[in-house]
Symmetry: C3
Subunit: 157 residues, 3 copies
Amino acid sequence: MSTIKSNLKQLGVALPSAPKPLGNFAPFIIDQNTLMISGQISVDATGNVVRGKLGDDFSLEQGYKAARLCAIGLLARANAALDGELDRIEQLLKLGAFVNATPEFGDHPKVVNGASDFMVEALGRKRGEHVRFAVGTSSLPSNAAVEIEAIFRVRTD
Amino acid sequence: MSTIKSNLKQLGVALPSAPKPLGNFAPFIIDQNTLMISGQISVDATGNVVRGKLGDDFSLEQGYKAARLCAIGLLARANAALDGELDRIEQLLKLGAFVNATPEFGDHPKVVNGASDFMVEALGRKRGEHVRFAVGTSSLPSNAAVEIEAIFRVRTD
Amino acid sequence: MSTIKSNLKQLGVALPSAPKPLGNFAPFIIDQNTLMISGQISVDATGNVVRGKLGDDFSLEQGYKAARLCAIGLLARANAALDGELDRIEQLLKLGAFVNATPEFGDHPKVVNGASDFMVEALGRKRGEHVRFAVGTSSLPSNAAVEIEAIFRVRTD
């Protein structure tokens, strides 16, 4: 069993099938050693969008969990891109995170840590360490709470 | 005649001259095989900014058209970057799209499809398929309705 | 003395130590010839966050200075990534800029020029010319006025 799949099993996370894009675009593209994953909104294990606005009707804890769901969806897409061979991931390079929030909100990093923490737990510290941006947005597709895009470096053999 | 230029002719689209940047930055940069294009706001064929806020005074149909104008501007810049040889485009890799919208809006994907659909029509399915993010924003330069950045893989010979 | 460090000296800018990330992520990653820097919020020389919302309580001039502070922080992180050898920077490729603004604001390019101008002054025109996106956002971490991410091409020898 691969290391990443072992980690996921220990975390009690079963990757869902890769979420379908909500528009006319690809869920992922592999360009040489770079795997780019489209913006993934927060969707739960049954496929329902997790909606909410931080600073309003949605708590930090809910936001953290929503960001974690984005990361799980990103990894599900990576799994599909790599034909189930998740250990072809050499490193998560970047997360770009958008948090649906009110104009007064300022705790975006605590929300997005839900995705970053999960990536480090699933990939391990060395492969999971990444750069990121985390910003607020006034609205997201389907009124989702969080949307995150990702870039991985992968082995292409 | 190149395939992409034939497609554009069939679509009835004449590429404008590449829109000038609104600040101290380059409209495009070619780094090895990667062509990066700066964020392109919605500008019509006569150079006027297409302004509006989705969810407020701007309909989905207007938004779709505004996103399409961003894509036309991106392709005009690509054309300038490639000295008019558009067929040096091997693939559109990514669109990063920001939609000027009210806090309640949730149909960003339908808006941004205006850009994605155009790219697939102009470049063909194989070269036009891309990853993307589509998010809301509370404000954009010159109160434009949409801003989109792009990354292409290009032939450098 | 290196050219970039000479430029900084002429500009009267002393790079601070690299700002620490506000969450579970890396301040920078070098992947082959690409140096990616995490989103850097506006922080002054003493480490205090520069807060404000353009269009509301924060002037264009304050915004320009806040964007410049982001650029200084980005260069401080680049300096740390390159073990103090800033002249390993071959080119700034991209800035991705988020401006904390009201829904009516439209002068984001003038704000973000604070970062672009500084980069061109510090790196020189040839190494400093970059693509960028500049968009509004309704909220940023710690209520910062500006957040900017960067990508550089660097020499890895």
